[in-house]
């Protein structure tokens, strides 16, 4: 409560207090500026190798045939939808507990990417389900809980942008993100707790993966590539958001100066 500066103070021209506030984001800009090109190049490289392996050099499945290749997109998207949400929850907790301004920005920039990734997970799953299961969609516990995860991503993205004061939106979004965490174990264990049309986990399970290594290795490469791309996207968006915030502060300061100059 007391740590939130009044609105007038937050928008004040660069006083020592707000300079201190930007000190940390400045360091973030410098460090992320060095990392981002390498991260993007690594994502592009790993993704190109993974997709080529998945499409051209991995075997078909004995009963799914070539349609199994959808799995190399679907499964990484599912992992990212859940792992990304965990990152959102951690950033939200950091924002609520430590009031770290970067955590708010990170959460704000994370949710649109998470929503796209979850939508891709749902869409590719549907494209696989139609020929394999015989239906685009069923309301079983796994599919329904992933749809709820998608709504949580969308809800967070909309909520943090719904307020005039970014601090209030960020706090509301952080609370929503933390409430939504209950859905993560439901998504993960839905296939074990209830009978579902969706199959149980093949890779992340106790014992040997129920997937032949000639499919498992390209899947892991694709998952790494998509994860790197996800990280690069979120980092680039967060950098842009930090710069945009600084631009707003500078423009406000300039407007004040001009106002004072006019009055004098």
């Amino acid at each position: 409560m007391d740590a939130t500066p009044p609105i007038t103070a937050a928008a004040a021209p660069p006083a020592p207090r707000s300079l201190h506030r930007f000190a940390n984001p400045g360091r973030f800009l410098r460090a992320s500026g060095r990392v981002l090109p390498w991260l993007s190049a690594a994502a592009a490289g790993v993704l190109a190798a993974g997709v080529a392996w998945a499409l051209a050099f991995s075997p078909p499945d004995w009963q799914q045939g070539e349609t199994v290749r959808i799995m190399y997109v679907h499964v990484p998207m599912a992992w990212l939808a859940m792992g990304g949400y965990l990152a959102l929850a951690l950033a939200s907790a950091a924002a609520l507990v430590w009031r770290h301004p970067l955590a708010d920005l990170l959460a704000r920039e994370l949710s649109p990417v998470g929503a796209v990734v979850t939508a891709l997970c749902l869409a590719t799953g549907s494209l696989w389900g139609r020929p394999m299961w015989g239906t685009w969609w069923v309301w079983d516990a796994r599919l329904t809980s992933v749809l709820v995860l998608f709504f949580l991503w969308l809800g967070h993205a909309a909520l943090v942008r719904a307020f005039d004061e970014p601090e209030r939106g960020a706090r509301a979004g952080a609370i929503l993100a933390l409430i939504g965490v209950v859905n993560l174990p439901i998504v993960k264990f839905s296939v074990d707790w209830w009978n579902t049309l969706h199959q149980p986990a093949s890779v992340t399970r106790l014992g040997a993966p129920a997937m032949h290594v000639e499919m498992l290795y390209p899947l892991l490469v694709c998952a790494l590539g998509f994860a790197l791309a996800f990280a690069a996207l979120v980092l680039a968006r967060t950098r842009a958001a930090v710069m945009e915030r600084r631009i707003r502060a500078l423009e406000l300061a300039r407007a004040r100066r001009e106002e004072r100059g006019m009055a004098a």
């Binding site: 349609t67 869409a123 680039a236």
Partner: protein, 51 residues
């Protein structure tokens, strides 16, 4: 086993489209912010590697 290349192609196309749109959006936003910042505060922008 029937082929479902349309479904496979659509899956990869959707993924490329979705992530590509995000990447393009992030890049444009990043570039616009960098230029604006460099115009407003050239010294700080150079220091932070944002220029």
């Amino acid at each position: 086993m029937t082929l479902h290349w349309a479904h496979v192609a659509a899956s990869y196309a959707l993924a490329a489209l979705g992530l590509g749109a995000l990447a393009l959006g992030a890049w444009l936003r990043h570039r616009a912010a960098r230029r604006r910042l460099a115009a407003l505060d050239p010294r700080a922008a150079a220091r932070d590697g944002a220029a």
